[in-house]
Structure formats: C-alpha cells, structure tokens
C-alpha cells in the first residue's frame, strides 16, 4: 500500500482554480520531486495535501484513509508535515520556541525531548542558537530551523516547498544533504523545486506540473536527458503519460 495516494485533485483560491489534475503516489521512505514553472500549481498542490488549501474535488489517501478536507492541525497529527515556501519561521520567537511549536503536531507527547535532541543532532547549528531570536539566523539556518521544526512532529511524510529559495549554492548543497539523511532515517519526502536538476539527482521520481496538471513523471535516468526534461517542462512534443 502506498503511503500517499492522490488522484484527480483540484484546488484553488475562491473562484480561481489553480490545480486541475494533481496526482501522486509516494511509497514509505521514498523521495519524490515536483518541478514546474512559476504559477504551475506546485504550492497549491502541497497546500491541498497539508490542508491549508481546500480541495474542490479528487481523493487524497494517506496510509489508507482519506484526509481530504481535514484541517491542517489534524493532518499534521496524522504524520504529514509541510515546510511552507519562504520557511515561515516565527522570527520574533526564539529558535527553541519554534522547535517547541513543532511538538504541537505530535500525537505521542512522551517522545518530545528525544525528538528535539534528535533534530539538534541533525542540525548542530540550532543547538548553539537555541536561545536566540529566530529572525537573527541566516537564511540557511532559518531553512534548517523550518525543517527541524517540522521533523520534531516525527512525520511519516515530510513536504518541502522550495527549500532552496534565496539560499547560496553551498548552503543548498547542505540542505539537500540533510534531506538525504532524513530519507535514510525512513521518512518519505516530497520536495517542490524550481531547480529541476538539483532535485532530480536525488529523487527516485520527479513529477512535472504545468498549468495545474501533472504532465509527466520522470525517472532519475530521464533527468540526464535534456530533451525529455525540456519537453515535459515546456510542453513541446507529447506528454510522457
């Protein structure tokens, strides 16, 4: 059974529909990428899965049960966490307070201290800044905090919306290195990225979203083929599906 199984998902804001046909399958422990041009509906897709955007039709099954239409605060308790675009850390709160907030989404509160210890091991820089105001961290550190904050709820599926946004190339390498580690620890991951090559090199599969439709699913081998990627991305030629 897939960890996440989504079919025919439609979503938007008010009368403006953005996502027309979102579908995705994620197996436990798998890393799946989502790429596509600006405004293609990638963030809306993740938002609909996390519950912050209300889907208008389609099905979302997480661990075999439907989560469509559930509230975000309930979905995170089921084990599906989203790191939103732009990191969205609480800049006025301390690093520690940000992490504590992440614990809200845990169902099992007894493992809280252990979860905090584990993420600070994964992101040592957070340990040394625990008492500092989060807004004083660098962009890369803030991104690490955002990921760590989502991880303390011990999600089975972690979703990241453009984690590389505004970061320098070396920092991006660090962040993606951490994603690899998280995956090895058994957490499935969905990463939305503008930088297609970056994500395709570590994802087992990458979906291409364009104009609100999932247009293609590319394997890691496809990623090396520029023409296939360009065709999927810009819509030249036939779709792969």
């Amino acid at each position: 059974m897939s960890l996440l199984s989504v079919r025919g998902l439609q979503a938007g804001y008010g009368k403006v529909q953005v996502l027309f046909n979102g579908h995705i399958e994620v197996e436990p422990g798998e890393l799946v990428g989502i790429v596509g041009p600006n405004g293609a509906g990638k963030s809306t897709f993740l938002g609909a899965l996390a519950g912050s955007v209300k889907p208008s039709s389609g099905s979302i099954e997480f661990q075999g049960t439907s989560i469509r239409g559930k509230k975000p605060e309930d979905i995170v308790r089921l084990g599906l966490a989203l790191v939103p675009e732009g990191r969205a850390i609480f800049t006025d709160l301390t690093v520690n307070e940000n992490l504590l907030l992440g614990l809200t989404g845990r169902r099992d509160k007894s493992g809280s201290a252990k979860a905090i210890a584990e993420v600070t091991e994964l992101f040592p820089v957070l340990a040394s800044h625990r008492g500092h105001q989060a807004g004083l961290l660098s962009g890369g550190q803030q991104q690490q905090l955002a990921i760590a904050r989502a991880l303390v709820s011990e999600p089975k599926l972690l979703m990241l919306d453009e984690p590389s946004l505004g970061l320098s190339p070396t920092i991006i390498q660090d962040v993606f290195g951490v994603l690899n580690k998280i995956q090895k620890l058994g957490t499935a991951i969905i990463v939305v990225e503008q930088r297609a090559h970056l994500i395709m090199s570590i994802a087992s599969r990458t979906l291409v979203i364009r104009e609100g439709h999932v247009r293609a699913t590319l394997s890691r081998e496809d990623a090396k083929d520029e023409t296939k990627l360009a065709a999927a991305y810009f819509g030249a030629g036939a779709d792969h599906e």
Partner: protein, 290 residues
C-alpha cells in the same frame, strides 16, 4: 502630587487591562472587537445583581459569566466568520455590540442600576499630611497582578506560545498543529476575564451600571491598542496604559478646564501616530489571518 501620580498609574493600569483584552483577540483573529465594552458591562451587571451573596462569590460569578459570554460570542458569531475579511468581522462585532446593549436594556432596563460594590475602595489612607485613596492603590495592585499574570501565561506556557505563534502567522501555526478553535476560544476567554477585572474597578468607582457602561473605555482602549501597535500584546497593554495615564494627568492639570481633556488627548494621539504610524511597538510579522 502623590495622589496625582497614583491616579495616573491606576487609570493607566485600568485602560491597559481593557486594551490587552482587545489586543488578545485582535492578535489571534484580526478582529477589532467593539463588543468588548458589552463584556465589561455584563461583568458590572453581574456584580451588582449578586453582591448580596458576598463580594468573593459576586466577583467569581462576574468573572465566570463574562468569560462565558465572551466564549459564546466567539462560538455563536465569530466562529462562523472564519473565512471572512477583517471588515466583515468588524461590522459583525458592531452588530454583537448593539445587540447586547439592546438586550441589556430589555433585561435590566435603560436606566442605571446602582449598587455598593466594595465601598472600602473609596476610603482614604493617610500618610502624615498626604492622603491617598485606597481605590487607586488597589487598582494599581490588581492591574499589575493581572498584567504580570497574563505576561506569565503568554510568555511561559504552551498555550501562550501557541497564542503568540497564531498572532504572528496563523496559517503556519495551524500547519504545525496549533488548533485554531482552541487558541481563539482561549483568547476570548482571557479577554472576558480581563473585561471582568475592568468592570470591577469601574463599578466601584461609579457605583452604578447602565447598558452603555463599557462603551467609553472600550473606544479609548482601542485608541490605546492602535497607539501601542496593533498585533503586539505588549504594545496593546502599553498603549492602553499611556492613554489612561494621559487622561488622568490631563484631568488633574487642566483643573477647571477638564472639558478639554479629550481634545488634548486626541491631539497627542495624532502627534504620536504622525511620528510612528504603525504604533509604538510595531509588529513586523503582521500578516492577515487566512
């Protein structure tokens, strides 16, 4: 002179409590709740009606009743308007405010009801040749205790952390698991408790209550939250304090010309807002509730 300062501090504390009550609700749901005044009024009504049961029980009933009405407002009206914009919420709060004022008129009558609540509050204490009123000292102690209590609650508890997070970015707080209804409900209950405290002090000063009992202080406290910086709890309390203390000081300095107190108050308000349009403590993380 000492009495003047104590009055300023006690007025400031009182208005600070009212402003914090308004600021708490504004923080989590971007609602400027005009019906806060009717919460203060119900607190005063409940105290006057039940004072024969003894002061402690009367205060307990007033606090519980006011908090319950605050929660009822949220559950019956504002909860249904979660997806509405701030202007709709504002108009809805006018509606709740007017509805409650008229209800009080029907239930309790349009004329003031008087009652003696804690008459010892109006007594004086003599220190050599200076006398000070007990009321001002007790108001300062009450306001300080409640402000420090709220500060502890907001700064040092899990619920407080969730309220702070929800105040700065509601969407993200929910993504992390913060339950929106719980946090908003809690903010309303706390604002009700603060309204009851304001009601207690006001009713001991005035000795009577009428349907419009809480309107004046609510409008002035709102001015305080704006001066302090909308969206910042510290700012709300501080802004409320500034407005209250200024009113008290103007009243004593203007003497026979105290009809001009509010003229001067609003001149000062305009000057402050011209210099700091986003308030004394601006909330950088100000974001609209989704």
């Amino acid at each position: 002179m000492i009495q003047t300062l104590l009055d300023a501090l006690s007025y400031g504390g009182l208005y600070g409590l009212a402003a914090l009550g308004i600021g708490l609700v504004f923080g989590v749901m971007r609602l400027v709740n005009f019906a806060h005044g009717e919460l203060i009024a119900i607190g005063a009504y409940l105290m006057i009606i039940t004072i024969d049961l003894g002061l402690p029980l009367s205060i307990l009933i007033a606090v519980a009743g006011t908090a319950a009405l605050a929660l009822l407002m949220e559950l019956s009206v504002f909860k249904r308007l979660r997806l509405a914009g701030p202007s709709v919420l504002l108009i809805a709060s006018f509606g709740v405010s007017i509805f409650l004022q008229r209800s009080y008129e029907i239930i309790f009558g349009a004329l003031p009801i008087s009652g003696q609540i804690a008459p010892w509050m109006s007594g004086v204490i003599e220190f050599g040749d200076t006398t000070i009123t007990r009321g001002s000292i007790l108001t300062i102690i009450l306001a300080l205790a409640l402000l420090l209590g709220m500060r502890f609650l907001i700064e040092s508890t899990t619920l407080g952390l969730q309220i702070r997070a929800a105040s700065s970015d509601f969407q993200t707080a929910r993504l992390l698991g913060v339950r929106s209804n719980y946090v908003i409900g809690a903010a309303f209950v706390f604002s009700g408790v603060l309204a009851a405290a304001v009601a207690f002090v006001l009713v001991t000063q005035r000795g009577s209550v009428d349907p419009l009992f809480g309107v004046n202080i609510t409008i002035l406290a709102l001015v305080g939250t704006v001066i302090g910086g909308l969206g910042s709890l510290q700012g709300a309390a501080l802004g409320g304090f500034a407005v209250g203390a200024t009113i008290s000081l103007l009243n004593s300095f203007l003497g026979n010309y105290r009809v001009y107190t509010y003229t001067w108050l609003f001149i000062l308000v305009i000057i402050v807002l011209l210099m700091r349009p986003s308030g004394l403590i601006s909330n950088k993380a100000y974001k609209e509730r989704a």
